[in-house]
C-alpha cells in the first residue's frame, strides 16, 4: 500500500538538543509523536489559502519543553504557523520559535510549562493547494416556468497532505492576500523566497493508526447527505459542512449543499446586436429570494448546467452550461445558456432621410437631421411562453418615436420587452430622429 500523504509531523523533543549540525537526521529525537485529535479546514475560494486548525493532546513536563513541527512535501506557509495551549493556557508559554539552520519545513517551539501533564494544544497555519468551488444543477419543467435548483460544493485537495477526518468550512467571499501562500510555502521558512529548490528531508510516516476507526465512524453516520450550515460573517459567508470528511491528497469530493424545488423561472431571451451579433441569447431568469423558494443564503459563483425535462419519465434535454456570478440574497439572476436558434429577431431599416440642412457663413453644411425608420420582426418558434428583451444602441442627440412600449436605459440605449406566446410572430416599428452638427442640442 502506498504511503499516505501525511507529512505534517509534530514531535516532542525529549532529549537536549544533540548537536550534530551537519546532519538533519540528528534532529529526529522523537519519542512520542502525538496524532491529530481534530482538524478543521477553512477553505477560501477567492484566493488559494486554507486555514488549518489542528488540535492535539500533548504531555508536557514542568519546565522547558521543545516541540518540533515539520511539514515536508506540503504547501504550508511557514510564516503562518501558530501555537496555542487550549487548556492550561496560563501555565504554558511559548518562549520562542526557531527555524533551525540547514533544514527546511521545520520549526521548533521552546515552551515553558508550569504544569506537568496533558495539555490540549491548537496549531494553526495556512496552506495552499486546497480549493473549493460551487456548482449548480438546474432542472426546468417542460414549460420552463418552474425549475429545481441544486447546489453542490466540490473540494479539491492538492496540498500534499491528507487531512483526515476534518471539519470542513468554506468561505464565500473575497479576501486580500499581499503574498501568495504557495510562494511563501516554497521558501520553507520565513524570509525571502529561495530560488534554488531545497530537497526536503523525507518525512516520517508514523501515522495511519486511527484510520479504520475513522472509516467506521463515517460509515455509521453517513445515512443522509451532510447538511451544510450557512452563516454570515462580516462581508463573507461561512459554510460549515456537517460532520467530518477525509479528502486524501489528489482527490476531490463533491457534496450536496442545497436543493430547492419549484423555483419560479422565466425563459428569458436577449437581443443586442452590439453584444452578440444577430444571435438571440437564452437565459433562465430567477431571483434568489424566499418567495422563489431560495434566499436562505447568497449563492457563490460557480458553474451551472441546465437541463429541461422533456418526457413524463423526466428524460433530459440539455439546455446549456454557464458560469454564474455571486448572487446576493434577493438579487435577480440571468443564467446565460447560449444562443437559441428558435427565437428570431430581425431588424430592418426601412427608411432613411436627411433633412433640415443648415449652412454656415461659408455656405458649408453645419447642421443636419437624420430620421431612421426601423421595422423589427420577432418570432418565437418554441412551444413555450418566452420573454424577449431587445436593446437598441443609439448615439448623438436622438429621440425615438414608437407605439411600442419601451424603456430608455441610458443616454445611448433603449429596450423593448415583449412577452411572446408559443409560435407567436410580431412586428413593431420605431423611428429615430438624430440631430447632427449645429442641429444637435445635446
Amino acid at each position: 500500500m502506498k504511503a499516505m500523504a501525511l507529512n505534517v509531523l509534530l514531535a516532542i523533543v525529549l532529549l537536549a538538543f544533540v548537536v550534530l549540525p551537519q546532519s538533519a537526521e540528528a534532529r529526529i529525537n522523537v519519542v512520542t509523536l502525538p496524532g491529530r485529535d481534530a482538524v478543521q479546514l477553512t477553505i477560501y475560494n477567492s484566493v488559494d489559502v486554507t486555514l488549518v486548525k489542528e488540535t492535539r493532546l500533548l504531555t508536557f513536563r514542568k519546565g522547558m519543553n521543545r516541540l518540533e513541527f515539520s511539514w515536508a512535501n506540503t504547501l504550508i506557509d511557514p510564516t503562518s504557523v501558530e501555537f496555542r495551549a487550549v487548556t492550561h493556557g496560563d501555565d504554558v508559554d511559548v518562549l520562542d520559535v526557531s527555524f533551525p539552520p540547514r533544514v527546511t519545513n521545520t520549526l521548533e517551539w521552546r515552551i515553558n510549562s508550569d504544569f506537568a501533564g496533558e495539555v490540549q494544544v491548537e496549531i494553526r497555519y495556512f496552506t495552499s493547494g486546497i480549493s473549493w468551488s460551487a456548482d449548480y444543477l438546474a432542472e426546468a419543467a417542460r414549460n420552463e416556468k418552474l425549475m429545481n435548483l441544486a447546489g453542490h460544493v466540490r473540494i479539491t485537495n492538492n496540498s500534499g497532505e491528507d487531512y483526515e477526518n476534518a471539519q470542513v468550512r468554506l468561505v464565500v467571499g473575497v479576501i486580500r492576500l499581499v503574498e501568495e501562500i504557495a510562494e511563501l510555502a516554497r521558501a520553507g521558512r520565513p524570509g525571502p523566497v529561495l530560488t534554488a529548490s531545497v530537497t526536503a528531508p523525507a518525512a516520517l510516516a508514523f501515522r495511519g493508526l486511527v484510520r479504520d476507526k475513522i472509516s467506521e465512524a463515517e460509515e455509521h453516520m453517513a445515512k443522509k447527505p451532510r447538511e451544510i450550515v450557512k452563516e454570515g460573517l462580516s462581508e463573507y459567508f461561512l459554510y460549515t459542512v456537517e460532520g467530518r470528511d477525509t479528502i486524501p491528497n489528489g482527490w476531490s469530493k463533491r457534496l450536496p449543499s442545497f436543493t430547492a424545488a419549484d423555483v419560479p423561472v422565466t425563459s428569458f431571451y436577449k437581443y443586442e446586436r452590439e453584444q452578440w451579433g444577430d444571435q438571440v441569447m437564452r437565459y433562465y431568469r430567477f431571483t434568489n429570494s424566499t418567495p422563489s423558494k431560495l434566499g436562505n443564503e447568497p449563492l457563490p459563483d460557480g458553474a451551472v448546467k441546465a437541463f429541461r425535462f422533456v418526457t413524463d419519465d423526466k428524460l433530459y434535454s440539455f439546455v446549456g452550461s454557464t458560469g454564474v456570478k455571486y448572487i446576493p440574497v434577493n438579487e435577480q439572476v440571468d443564467l446565460e445558456l447560449g444562443r437559441d436558434l428558435e427565437v428570431l429577431v430581425k431588424p430592418a431599416l426601412m427608411n432613411w432621410e436627411k433633412t433640415d440642412l443648415q449652412f454656415d457663413n461659408n455656405a458649408e453644411v453645419k447642421g443636419w437631421t437624420t430620421k431612421e425608420s426601423w421595422l423589427m420582426e420577432v418570432q418565437n418558434s418554441k412551444e413555450i411562453d418566452i420573454v424577449l428583451d431587445i436593446r437598441r444602441n443609439l448615439s448623438g442627440d436622438w429621440s425615438v418615436e414608437t407605439e411600442a412600449s419601451n424603456e430608455k436605459i441610458d443616454a445611448t440605449k433603449i429596450k423593448f420587452v415583449l412577452p411572446l406566446k408559443p409560435r407567436q410572430k410580431q412586428t413593431f416599428s420605431y423611428t429615430v430622429t438624430t440631430r447632427h452638427g449645429t442641429n444637435a442640442t445635446r
Binding site: T156, A222, G250, G338
Partner: protein, 391 residues
Amino acid sequence: MKRLISTLVFVTTLTVEARIKLVALPERARVVVSLNNPEATLVEEERLITLQKGVNKVDFSWRGVNIDSTSIQARMLSHGDNVTILNTSYPPNENALIWEINSNEAQEERVRISYLLSGLTREVTYKAVAEPNETALTLRNYLRLRNESGEDLSNAEIGIGYGSDFKKTIENGETLEMLSERIEALRINKILTWDAATLPWDPEYEKKTVGIPLSYVIKNDKESKLGLHTMLPGKVRIFIKTKEQPEKQGGPVGEGVAFTGEDWAQLTPVDREMKLYIGQSRDVKVTQRKTRDDRTNIRRNSGNTVVVNDTDELYKIEVENFKKQPIDLVLVEHIPGYWKMVESSHKFEKKDAFTIEYRLALPAESSGAKKTTVTFNLNRLNVQGNEPTSY
C-alpha cells in the same frame, strides 16, 4: 465496453490502491441519446444496480471516451425517496468517480446516469427531386450520425429535437444515415434573381453569356406540408425528373433523374422561406441603363464647390426571356441615402431603406419586340456623398 460502472463491495480506505473495483458489472437497461442541442450530445443510460442496506460505493469510470466529467450525474429511478447520493469523490489522475449512496433497504435500483459526450455528431442533408415543370418537388430530409465517441451505442433511443425518437444501434466509428422526413409534392417557386450590385448592367460588353442566378424557394409552412419545426442548415442536392430512353426499342419509357445543382440550406424557422441558389439561367437577358443622371438644387459653398445637391435619375431595364416557358424574375436595385421615387413603370417592393425589388412574371419567348421594359425615375435628396448604403 469502454465504460464501467461497478459496485464497490470492500473498501477500507480511500487511497487509489485500496479501491477494489468491480464485482458485478451492471448491464445497461436503456440508452437515450439527445442531439437536440447542437453544442453538446447528452447521453442518458439506465442501469440496474444492487444496493446493500447502508452506504454503498458505486464506481463509474471511463476510458477511451471523452466524457465531460463535470456533467455526470445519477438519478435514482426506483426508490428515489430512500436511496440518496451522499457525496461524489474524484480520484486523482483517473477518469472515474465514486458515488457514496445510502440505501434504506437491500434492493435493486434503477439508476439513470447522464453525461455530455463528445464525438457524436449529427448533420442534416436534404435531397430533392423536382417535377419536370419545376412547380413541386419531393423533399427528403436525412439525418447523418457520426459516432467517433469511442462508445458503441446499442439499441439507443435517439432524439434530434423534432419528430419522434428512433431506436438505432450505432457502433464506434460508424456513420449512419437515416431518412427522417419525406414530403411529397412540396410546392416550390422557381425564381431568377438579377442583382444590380453584382451582375453586369450591359451584357453586350461581356465576353461570356451572363448567367442569372436560379433559385428554388421553399416556404416552411403548413401550406407546403411543412411548418412543423425549424428547418436545420445542411446541404441540399436537387435533382429533376427526366424521361429515359427505353431499354429496347418500342419498350416503355423509363424514369430517371438529372442533377440540377446544390446549395447550403440556411436555418429556416417556421413560416419563413428557404432560398436555394442552385445554378444559373442563360436564357434570360437583363440590360440595365441609367438614362438620366442630373444634379439639381445645387448648393455651393463660398469657394463655389458643390456641397449639397439633389439628383434626377432615370433607369431603364430591358428583360428578354428566350425560353419557351414563362419564368419569374426578381430585379434587385440598390439606392443609397435619402431618396424618393418619382415614377415607376411597375410595382416595386421596398425591402429596406436602400433596396427595392421588382418581381416580374416574364412571358414565354418574350424577347425582341416582346421584351419586358421597366423604367423608374427617382430623386436623391440632400446628397453630400457620405450617405449610407447599408445598415
